[in-house]
C-alpha cells in the first residue's frame, strides 16, 4: 500500500457526499495531491461553488464572509497552508464563526521530503492552539464519518475543527520514480 490507494473504497467520493449532506456550498481550496479527486468532485457539483485561493490565509476570511451571507463552507488545504492561516483565525474567533477545514498532512506517514516535516509536526498543535477540534483520519473507512461529525459540531456549535487526513490514508509522495 505504498501509494495509499485502497482499491474499492472511494473515500474521496464518501467525503464529497458528507460535505454535500452537510449543506456545504462554498469549497475554498489550495490544491494538494491528496485532495485532487475531492476537488474534482466538488468542482463538478452544481450545488457547490469551488473557489481556488491564491493563499490559504484567504480561507478563514472567505468562509466568514460566506457565513455572514448565509452559506456554509469548507477549506481544503495541506498542512503547510495551516501556517498561512494562523493570524486570520483571530477573525474566526472574534466573530465565533463556524470553521471547518480538511487538511492533508504532509510530513506525516512515510514522508520523503524533509521540507514538509516542519508543518506536518505542527498541524495538530496549531489546531489545538487555535482552540479547534483536531480529528486524525488514518483509514479510508473513517474519512466520511469524521467529516460528518466535524461538520455537525462546527455548524451546530459555531466552533472550529480540522480533519487531518494523514499520508497513511492518501499515500506519501514518491520521489524515486
Amino acid at each position: 500500500m505504498e501509494k495509499g490507494e485502497k482499491v474499492g473504497h472511494d473515500w474521496h467520493a464518501d467525503v464529497h457526499q458528507a460535505l454535500h449532506d452537510a449543506r456545504i456550498t462554498v469549497v475554498a481550496y489550495v490544491p494538494d495531491g491528496g485532495h485532487r479527486r475531492l476537488i474534482e468532485l466538488c468542482r463538478a457539483d452544481p450545488m457547490m461553488r469551488a473557489v481556488p485561493l491564491a493563499c490559504e490565509s484567504e480561507g478563514p476570511c472567505l468562509l466568514a464572509g460566506a457565513w455572514l451571507g448565509g452559506q456554509r463552507g469548507v477549506l481544503l488545504m495541506q498542512s503547510s497552508g495551516l501556517g498561512n492561516c494562523i493570524n486570520n483565525f483571530g477573525l474566526i474567533k472574534a466573530g465565533q464563526f463556524p470553521f471547518l477545514t480538511l487538511i492533508t498532512v504532509r510530513g506525516s506517514w512515510g514522508e520523503a521530503n524533509p521540507w514538509m516535516l516542519y508543518m506536518g509536526r505542527r498541524t495538530r498543535p496549531l489546531l489545538e492552539l487555535a482552540d479547534f477540534h483536531a480529528y486524525e483520519v488514518d483509514a479510508a473507512v473513517d474519512a466520511a464519518p469524521t467529516v460528518t461529525a466535524a461538520a455537525q459540531m462546527v455548524f451546530a456549535c459555531s466552533s472550529g475543527a480540522g480533519v487531518m487526513l494523514t499520508q497513511r490514508l492518501f499515500g506519501a509522495k514518491r520521489f524515486d520514480q
Binding site: G65, G69, N87
Partner: protein, 198 residues
C-alpha cells in the same frame, strides 16, 4: 520617490457618505483602522456593516468575496485602507478569477499606516493598486484623485458590473475616530438577522 507631490486630498468621509448614506441595501465590510469609522460616519452602526479590527489584516476583500458569492443579488462594498489592501493584494487574483459581478473594493489611500504612526506605505512609493487590480482582471479598476470625478466613481462602486476596484487618493490628515462596536459576535448576529438568516 521622496517628497512626491500628492495628487489629491479628497475627504474620505465625503466619498463614503456619497456611497452609503441612506443606502440601506448595500452590504458593507470595513477593514482595519479608519475604514470601520468610515462606515459608522456614513450610516451609523448599521446592521449590514461588518468591520474587522486587528486580526484579519488584508482579509476584508476576501470576506467581501465570500459574502458576494453567498448573496449574489446584493451589492457588496468593501472599504479598507491602503496598508490593509497591500497586505491583501493576493486576494486581487482570487477575486478576479471568480468575477463576482456584485462586489466593489474601495481603498482609502492616504499613503500612510495612519493607525501606527503615519509611516509611509508602498502606494506613496509608486505602487499602483488600481493597476494591480486591472492586471488581475477586475472589470473596473480606477484611481480617483479628482473631486470632479467622484460622482462617476461612486456610480461605479454601486452599480457597475464587478468586480470593481476604486483607489481613492485621500488626505493624509487623520480622520475623526468615532465610537464603534468591536464585538464580532454582535456584528455577525445583527448582520445575519437583517438578512433574515437564522
Amino acid at each position: 520617490m521622496t517628497n512626491k507631490a500628492r495628487k489629491s486630498d479628497l475627504d474620505r468621509r465625503d466619498v463614503i457618505k456619497r456611497i452609503l448614506s441612506g443606502n440601506d441595501e448595500v452590504l458593507a465590510i470595513g477593514g482595519l483602522g479608519n475604514a470601520g469609522y468610515d462606515l459608522v460616519a456614513a450610516r451609523g452602526e448599521h446592521p449590514l456593516n461588518f468591520t474587522i479590527h486587528g486580526a484579519g489584516m488584508g482579509g476584508a476583500p476576501t470576506v467581501g468575496l465570500g459574502l458576494a458569492l453567498a448573496q449574489p443579488r446584493r451589492r457588496v462594498v468593501v472599504v479598507l485602507g491602503d496598508g490593509d489592501m497591500l497586505m491583501g493584494t493576493v486576494s486581487l487574483a482570487t477575486i478576479a478569477a471568480q468575477r463576482p459581478g456584485n462586489l466593489a473594493i474601495l481603498v482609502m489611500d492616504n499613503e500612510r499606516y495612519q493607525e501606527t504612526g503615519a509611516q509611509a506605505t508602498a502606494t506613496g512609493m509608486g505602487v499602483d493598486l488600481a493597476g494591480m487590480a486591472a492586471a488581475a482582471g477586475f472589470r473596473v479598476a480606477l484611481t480617483l484623485d479628482d473631486a470632479a470625478r467622484i460622482d462617476d466613481a461612486v456610480d461605479k462602486v454601486l452599480r457597475a458590473p464587478g468586480p470593481v476596484f476604486v483607489n481613492v487618493k485621500i488626505s493624509d490628515v487623520p480622520a475623526q475616530q468615532l465610537p464603534k462596536v468591536r464585538d464580532g459576535v454582535l456584528m455577525k448576529l445583527r448582520f445575519r438577522g437583517r438578512l433574515g438568516i437564522d
